[in-house]
């Protein structure tokens, strides 16, 4: 696990010094994170990375996990899907059970923190404890709130509105709430296996392993095999361009083997690619971070032709590697790419093919896009910015004014 000082060569001493200045102001507070799982899932991943950094900066942080049985997590999974806009019914008795499990956890958890930082909907009703113990309460939403089902969001808002602040990861997730809402974008870790610099031998070895020709242009999309990532659209795009430019296509990603839809998509993608040996379909096992890193670094152009996207961290990863990226203007992607400046934003297969051909034919322009993209990620989407936002978030609980002199 890297230490804070390891990030100095990347972001500069000034950024690291400011983290220590901010942390100093948070030193008398205990921050208690509460979520529903200690392993797997995005929230656990974020906490596993952030907590050691916050502790190294001198902030007292702890992490508690709520308990629940299979019935509870089946209900919260339904909630999760409903918040993503899936049309399904959650019954009154299911909501009552959800609240009962939250109440049981309210009794069991030792609320030792000065700031209780609750993540995602599963433990949202712990806020009922607020009337007894006061403290400052934060609720962080890590999921897409663009088109939630009304009845479930109305139910959750009864609880969300009791917190002191809510945190969302994209502007479009904001709602008309009675409490302040903070925007904290996700981040990538430049020193993780997926993003750290690799020796060229490692990259070459991985290209060899997948039988990819390092001497011809490589166009890559990294994503799980899912209709929303439009892998068939990527193949159609490539085929339009291949008539004019001799290039290769890599579609690489993982996916749960017990996900019937994922396997169906993979099958369709393989069928669409069957007549072209320059299309490489790579179904990667979990823990393939180094392979993904190498494929991104070796690519000439990266595509992210998603039809829907949360934040789109694969775009940030590609931009961080200085790669020219052509991506759909959906979800959090426009936050990362300014069209024709730090990448290309597109809306169709034809548009994507047009720009792909242009960037393959104009490597100097493509290179400039990649450089600007890397700078944007460096300034706004690395883990150091994420830590700074968390520290500011904690402090914001104690100040209402727009300008705060600390």
């Amino acid at each position: 696990m890297p230490a804070i000082k390891d990030y100095t060569p990347i972001v500069g001493q000034g950024v690291i010094d400011e983290l220590y200045l901010l942390a100093e102001k948070c030193k008398d507070k205990i921050v208690q994170n509460i979520n529903s799982t200690s392993v797997g899932g995005g929230v656990a991943e974020i906490l596993l990375r952030m907590i050691p950094f916050l502790r190294e900066l001198g902030v007292a942080v702890r992490w508690d996990v709520i308990k629940g049985d299979e019935k509870f997590f089946t209900i919260t999974k339904k909630m999760h899907n409903a918040l993503h806009g899936v049309d399904l019914e959650i019954t009154e008795s299911e909501l009552e059970y959800f609240l009962a499990i939250n109440e049981m956890n309210t009794q069991e958890i030792n609320f030792i923190g000065d700031i209780i930082f609750v993540h995602d909907p599963q433990p949202v009703a712990l806020i009922n404890k607020k009337t007894q113990i006061s403290k400052k309460w934060l609720w962080c939403c890590h999921i897409d709130f663009t088109e939630p089902q009304e009845n479930i969001i109305n139910f959750l808002e009864l609880y969300i509105n009791q917190y002191d602040s809510a945190v969302f990861s994209a502007p479009s997730f904001a709602r008309k709430l009675k409490i302040p809402q903070v925007l904290i974008s996700p981040s990538i870790d430049p020193l993780s296996d997926k993003n750290k610099e690799l020796p060229s031998e490692t990259i070459l070895k991985i290209l060899e392993q997948f039988q990819i020709d390092k001497n011809r242009p490589i166009v890559t999309q990294i994503s799980r095999f899912d209709y929303l990532k439009d892998p068939i659209g990527v193949i159609k795009t490539y085929k339009k361009v291949k008539q004019y430019v001799d290039c290769q296509l890599i579609l690489a990603g993982g996916g749960a083997t017990d996900d019937p839809e994922g396997l169906k998509v993979l099958q369709e993608v393989r069928e669409a690619a069957v007549d072209d040996p320059d299309i490489h379909i790579l179904f990667l096992p979990p823990a393939s971070d180094t392979e993904i890193n190498a494929l991104q670094v070796a690519s000439t152009i990266i595509l992210q032709k998603s039809l829907k996207e949360g934040f789109g961290l694969t775009v940030a990863e590609a931009l961080w590697k200085g790669k020219p990226v052509i991506a759909s203007a959906v979800g959090g992607i426009p936050l990362q790419i300014t069209h024709k400046y730090s990448g290309i934003l597109t809306y169709s297969i034809d548009g994507t093919a047009y720009y792909l051909k242009q960037l393959l034919n104009e490597p100097e322009y493509a290179k400039k896009l990649g450089e600007n993209g890397r700078n944007n990620i460096k300034n706004n989407f690395l883990i150091t910015r994420h830590i700074r936002d968390y520290l500011l978030l904690f402090l914001s609980l104690y100040y209402d004014e727009d300008i705060v002199h600390l």
């Binding site: 709430l177 500011l392 402090l395 727009d402 705060v404």
Partner: protein, 214 residues
């Protein structure tokens, strides 16, 4: 004995207001009614987030009008508002209101942003912190100027002048206090909205170094 210059830094937390606009009238309504910290955020975000020159309109309003409503003439009018000449955010707000009002009255635009491309109003809360850097004289000032973070530069040159309503950037103010009127004026003449912050740092060092030697 003149007061030393205490370098500070400003760090911003972005707040979502939960209000969105899908056409020009709704944009105007937001600009008229939302807090000044929202106007400040949408006109300065690109400066401190990019920390580099940007080819797009320098404020979110102009960018959205251009990109999502595709009204180029109005986008250009909003983009060309010279933020450097305003001393108060309220004046800046009034300028945007006038431009939008004129356009809406004359053109009666019906354009609606495509779904998913609405304008989301936000604001920022700025936290101002002392840094360890202090200067008693010009030589020490230059040494510190080379080392402070880009956020500190942004705070003293831009945020302090406009948002804290000091009217003048902090560097010019201090230089004037120590009798360096010419240096103060030269720095006031810099347009921080058309130079990158690292570029500004280099220019500041050149300007102030001239006066350190005399």
């Amino acid at each position: 004995m003149p007061t030393p210059f205490y370098f500070k830094t400003g760090l911003r937390l972005i707040q979502l207001l939960g209000i969105r606009a899908k056409n020009l009238q709704e944009l105007l309504d937001g600009i008229e009614t939302l807090p000044l910290s929202s106007i400040y955020y949408h006109t300065h975000r690109l400066l401190y987030q990019q920390l580099a020159l940007y080819p797009e309109p320098p404020n979110d309003f102009a960018y959205w009008i251009n990109q999502s409503l595709n009204i180029k003439e109005l986008g250009e009018a909003m983009a060309s508002v010279n933020i450097a000449r305003f001393r108060y955010v309220q004046e800046l707000r009034n300028q945007f209101i006038n431009i939008l009002n004129d356009y809406i009255e004359n053109e009666n635009p019906m354009t609606i942003a495509p779904e998913g491309q609405e304008f989301h109003f936000m604001k920022c809360q700025t936290f101002i912190l002392p840094t360890p850097f202090v200067a008693d004289n010009i030589d020490e000032f230059i040494v510190a100027l080379k080392r402070v973070s880009i956020n500190a530069l942004y705070f003293h040159l831009i945020e302090s002048r406009l948002r804290l309503q000091n009217g003048v950037n902090d560097f010019s103010c201090w230089l004037r206090n120590i009798g360096e009127e010419k240096a103060a004026i030269e720095i006031e003449r810099l347009d921080p909205y058309t130079i990158t912050l690292e570029g500004l740092r280099r220019k500041l060092i050149v300007i102030i170094s001239k006066y350190a030697c005399h």
